[in-house]
Symmetry: none
Subunit: 189 residues, 4 copies
DNA sequence: AATGAATGAGGGTTCATTCAT
DNA sequence: AATGAATGAACCCTCATTCAT
């Protein structure tokens, strides 16, 4: 994984909070700088443009989240247990993933090539990791789905959607742990 | 359902295409007016602001889509068949729903009260309609889920996610009809 | 000659005064707008960019000046008299030509193709007009130069330089009328 | 002539190339430092500001050019020959003089007092040197002009203008040696 | 009702200059 | 003496909104 300069990461953190709260267009470079405690021009010492900043920030966040998932299932045997662990992390970081998707939506008219080559590559890594776990579960006759891709979209979609509903309603009547077990049951069933 | 003036609907159509293609901030009122074939000032005869336009447009679209779903399952007995019909419509209009979500993401820093009272209300109607079908299926012992909300987020999430994946990859290797049957199987299982 | 919109010409006039006084980079669009008595955004209704404004302004000025010269020698027989008339106009508008050259200098790293196709084309017209007069004078044995181009650079260069010296020194010890007669004498000699 | 520190001259050389290629405003201190192979801050060890740098650079260049002209005509008797030698040097360094004028144009909104006292003083020296040669030629009945200043603006103007035309057209159809002889003929005639 | 010329607040970006090392 | 990271003033340009016609 790429090495990041100290201040770069600080900028990521401020930008992250502001972007996910107010959106891409309604967050100004000035605000990011102020929140980081640096001058406006300094942001441009680290990023060529606002667009580059948000792209690199997303990559940074996605890479970190993916890294965490990958590490956490190392040495685990059972595919079911793997999925459960990944799910717990997703729940803990749940808001982050939703926010990333939200910010991603806002920039999908950016230079598509960069999107494909950078951001999408990592989203894909995550997709493939989960598909791998489900595939493994199918081979071990633990999961029962006709195609691994179907199980994957079921897992990711249900998790994201549940979190979105929880987020939208603001009331916490959506029990994420219960949802996770429900998904696993369905994948097994 | 609210009555719409002729030109209002024309504006919705232009705005819809532009917003979903270029995003909220990158679409200008000028462009919308031009595409509609009217003057820039005329847009302001129908909508107080760009914000009001996009909110009303989303409501218009969601209401239409919801209406279509509701009508199409009238007179259908089997909950499984109901879900299949709703699913087919969702697939046909699939891109529309994704685009609505995308536009919604972009404006969620708008006046929250309006969001709650207007847009969310309709999203909620749809959620409730599907939850109703699943509840009905549970009572008739056709669907087997512990809570109707879990089945609902599974249905909506998996559908949306599958469409998003299909959309992102651009290749059409995601077979939506297969996904739909997969979801129904899982809800039954 | 191109038709100009009313406000376009007003902008040219303000811009002209500011550019020639303070230079291209040190004149802001805000200042031009203020001097014209219009809003900043209005300038951009007429010109796509500051660069386009200055280019069109130069073309406007050069065309006007050229037009005046061409008209004024219509019906004049003697090449000597033609040159004298052109010279008088040049002296009257002397500062304008210098200022145009000065502004031209400032923008010569602009899109060279446009430069060549637009601005240079008009400068060239003027060069050719004067060369034509000198050529005619050579044929009528009034002017005595080996090549018409030499006479042309002598006329234009001496006039410009004399005006520049007069301009630099600010004292008016350079007598332009005397210079003009001197040039004609030399061309005849 | 003022003594210059080693690095000062190196900065002059980089700045000269960049200013004449890209203009004053489009050349950054960073670029100058980089081209010189020193740090940005170092430039400010030698010059208080960008403005001071360009002024001192112009003075340095003009002094050098003037020095060369003055030396080259030492010991020459004939005023005609003197002018021919100065002309040859001007042709060799021709682009330099034009570039200096160009840069000068760009900075004439600088502190006028400094302009007058420094830059103009040297331009004036050159003017006076040439005027002196022409005056001498008039006294020896070699040159035939009514006022020495007229001959001077004819010489300088025609040379500069011919070089500018040569520069603009990019084709080399302007024969500078021929122009020089033409000027001398006219001054004699 | 319909228009589009006019507006100016606001944001991204640049770059001369400073200063701690 | 030398450096380059940090700064923020300043400017070009966009575009939602207004209003006279």
């Amino acid at each position: 994984m790429k090495e990041y300069r100290n201040k770069e990461v600080l900028i990521f953190q401020s930008a992250w909070e502001l972007f996910s709260e107010k959106g891409f267009h309604d967050t100004t470079i000035s605000e990011i700088a102020k929140k980081t405690g640096i001058g406006k021009g300094t942001v441009y010492e680290y990023f060529k443009s606002k667009e580059e900043l948000v792209q690199k920030m997303i990559i940074f966040n996605l890479e970190n989240a993916h890294e965490e998932s990958v590490c956490s299932i190392k040495g685990i045997e059972s595919p079911e247990e793997k999925l459960r662990i990944i799910g717990k992390i997703d729940i803990d970081r749940g808001m982050d993933i939703l926010k990333t998707m939200k910010i991603l939506q806002m920039i999908d008219d950016f230079d598509k090539v960069n999107m494909k080559n950078n951001v999408f590559e990592i989203l894909n890594k995550r997709f493939i990791m989960i598909e791998g776990v489900i595939q493994e579960g199918m081979e071990k006759n633990i999961f029962n789905v006709d195609k691994s891709i179907n199980g994957t979209v079921l897992y990711i979609g249900t998790m994201n959607n549940a979190m979105m509903v929880r987020n939208f309603t603001e009331e916490r009547f959506v029990d994420m742990d219960n949802i996770l077990e429900f998904i696993i049951t369905k994948l097994k069933g």
